[in-house]
Subunit: 343 residues, 3 copies
């Protein structure tokens, strides 16, 4: 399966310097790579490692120079993605429906879909072409799963939810559980039925054990190309705009709407019923309690412009010092005042 440095550079549409005939058998990180391994540098923080790595060649951006054998590409991270496909075969799957899967009456399974043991598909569900349902996946009644989607181990999709094409859902994800809606909270906690659905559009990827609640009415909507990390909470009637990125452990409260290309850092929380514009960036551990206009970068809880937040953060730890300064000033002013009075 070996490829030469020259072949790989051509495959990637890049150039090489050094030994073009070196044979690459595998791809590894800079620290682990050895003879026969290709490595990559995408985070400039690790630039010095080029001098110490044992890799036979390194994928780098055009401005990097070294005596080592280099493959220069515009974006080494994307090049890494492409080159990995040369050296790593995709998982093999058995064909068809396992005898230990359960398909309810009226469900439609496309002939080339794969249903592993322990899969459950409810009544009138529709499973698209080349869909892979890993062991333990549970599909509720009337769910539709689009072509080429992959649902990993123990994913649950409640009834009537819609999953698009080329969607990847990792293990333990729950799609379509009831939204958290109770009238008179803390008193009689009267349950509001959650009769809406979740709609997940094409090319979405969802991380392990994330939860996405169904809408009270209408739909909770994850739009095309959105990527969601692990252990994220998406409440009822939330809309997440195209290509947005939601990092791990974020929580988004009910009926909040995100524009396109929003990026939310890990562990942030968004209150309900607000609108976040397009291309907003929200720092990790932020708390967002108001609308945010498009193209803003905000951080903090309460959130503020990111630059202001950086300045604020720099001062937080100096509060004890500020406190002392103020006390000192108070004493000085008091003394001066009494002096002035005497005069």
């Amino acid at each position: 399966m070996g490829k030469t440095v020259k072949e790989i550079a051509e495959f990637l549409g890049g150039t090489f310097s050094g030994d073009g005939d070196a044979v690459i058998e595998n791809v590894k990180g800079l620290d682990e790579a050895g003879q026969g391994d290709l490595s990559f540098l995408s985070n400039p923080k690790y630039r010095k490692k080029i001098d110490t790595t044992e890799a036979s060649a390194i994928l780098v951006s055009p401005e990097i120079k070294s005596d080592k054998t280099l493959i220069h590409v515009k974006d080494p991270y994307i090049a890494l993605a492409k080159v990995l496909s040369l050296f790593h075969d995709p998982e093999n799957h058995p064909s068809g429906i396992s005898g230990q899967a359960f398909v309810a009456e009226g469900a439609e399974i496309s002939e080339d879909a794969v249903l592993y043991p322990g899969v459950y598909v409810g009544p009138k569900a529709v499973i698209g072409k080349r869909v892979i349902l890993y062991p333990g996946v549970k599909i509720g009644p009337q769910v539709v799963v689009g072509d080429d989607s992959i649902l990993y181990y123990n994913v649950t999709v409640y009834g009537r939810c819609l999953i698009g094409k080329k969607v990847i859902i990792h293990a333990g994800v729950v799609v379509g559980s009831d939204g958290f809606g109770f009238a008179n909270p803390g008193r009689d906690n009267f349950k509001i039925p959650q009769v809406g659905i979740v709609q997940i559009d094409d090319d979405v990827e969802i991380g392990a054990n994330t939860t996405i609640d169904r809408a009270t009415l209408g739909k909770t909507w994850i739009q095309k190309g959105v990527k969601i990390d692990n252990l994220v909470q998406i409440a009822h009637n939330v809309v997440i705009g195209q290509n947005s990125i939601i990092v791990a452990q974020v929580g988004i409260s009910g009926s909040t709407t995100l524009g396109r290309s929003v990026i939310i850092g890990g562990q942030s929380g968004l209150i309900g019923h607000i609108n976040i514009g397009d291309a907003v960036m929200i720092g990790a551990q932020s708390g967002i309690s108001e609308d945010v206009d498009s193209n803003q970068i905000v951080s903090g809880s309460p959130h503020m412009p990111h630059r202001q937040w950086l300045r604020t953060q720099a001062i937080i730890g100096r509060l004890p010092e500020l406190y002392k300064k103020i006390s000192l000033l108070e004493n000085q002013v008091r003394e001066m005042e009494s002096k002035l009075k005497k005069e």
Copy 2:
């Protein structure tokens, strides 16, 4: 299945204005509703939408006026819950025990319980009347599940835990995993066996992928009517008082006790071994490290009275400005002092 506005108003014990003969076929949100749809207004933030909605009628509170056809009720959110039952049939279930469910020796399954494919019920477990165990539910040995409870897909209940009546547990919830108890933490991490249980009382609802650990000794106790959202962590020996509301991604540490009707906002954390009184409200993303008396509203990390927190939040972002003010004051005072000395 259509009902007239007049019929619905009567069913809800409310009154109507406008076209009482308009026929309602479905219930939708204000934005999505059209001809034949009933909608509702419960959040005053959306009041203007009454003017623009295409709904044939709107559930509103008594003080709302409009030329549109309105159904006036005391609490539109509760009325919504009631009216949804007119238009949405509950899910149909197969009857009895699936041939692909597994029931261990000595387990008792009430005749009218539903066990879907992939359900496991351990030795000596007792499953009550009309209980529904969705595909993939795992019930450990000696667990008791009370009448009319619903456990959704892939819920796990470890051995000996007790689930009350009319309890709803959403997909992926884990009840009864070991509490996190290790002696000499960071050194030998000696495991303390967790031999207690979890007891969940009647009318509790638990959101997807939430985890509730068993007690070291005795029980972790979720009392009657408590509602817990998704991805919440409840540690060993915690007690949550009746009708309390725990929003998504909250974490409650070991042996902490909550009174009745406590409401905790999303992503808050409570330290262990503290007592929270009745009817306490805790804001989102708070950090609670001490007892809180009944009827308090607190926020922040560290927590403080909610009003104080609001004032504090307003100042946080102005810290850089305060810092400059202090520096300026220091200069002014220094100058004045030297002036006074000269004199």
Copy 3:
């Protein structure tokens, strides 16, 4: 099964005061214990309960005095762990491979392993001696599970990951899901294949619904003796050093490395690509964005030395007061300045 106080003291290598012939039948908390029960005091906060407990005997540290029957031991919490083994039998398991488990071709199951119904073991996986796979466990292709490990209900291990010996993994945990790696985030979200693995060493315990992502290249590595609580997120290529303790809902971002014996409080977040030294303690709800040297205690977001953080926290709630003080000082200084000018 009863044991006398004297027998228990001997078993624990401790001493007793009071009635050595009292017969103990069970172990309970101080509040619940009655006639025939042994209880324990390890948290000094509850010392007064010794006077009120109905327990027949109490495990205490050497300095505690009381008229009650006491068993004095060096560490009552460890003694509790040992004594529980006298009174609580471990769960019984059926032997062998359930007829409702699925073992793929080429998988090796040690003869004395237990596979419950609904277990799936993928091609070429290796399951060690005395391993227990609870109902619904899913083991991907080529996974290795070491001897004496216990995987509870619905645990998922993706392909090629390595689980050591005597590992305990609680229900719903996901090991080996794809790391969150996308080039051009927010724009085309180009997926970077995640071809590395997760390696979990011996004696690790992992709490319910925690997620551990596989490495992009190489491995995400949980070293020997690490204990991880519920709902924790471990990103790709993270390394957690021996005997570290990670409390619930912590999130650790990609490629961050922890030394030995690190303790991280609940809900804290660590940014990616940083190094945390040995024996670092990180307070709950902290946000760590830089390297931390060994043996530091840090808290806060942004983090700072714990003592500084305590002083800072004490001032946060007084910001409105500080703000007023500064305004007052400004007025005073202004007045004095105009006075001085006049003179």
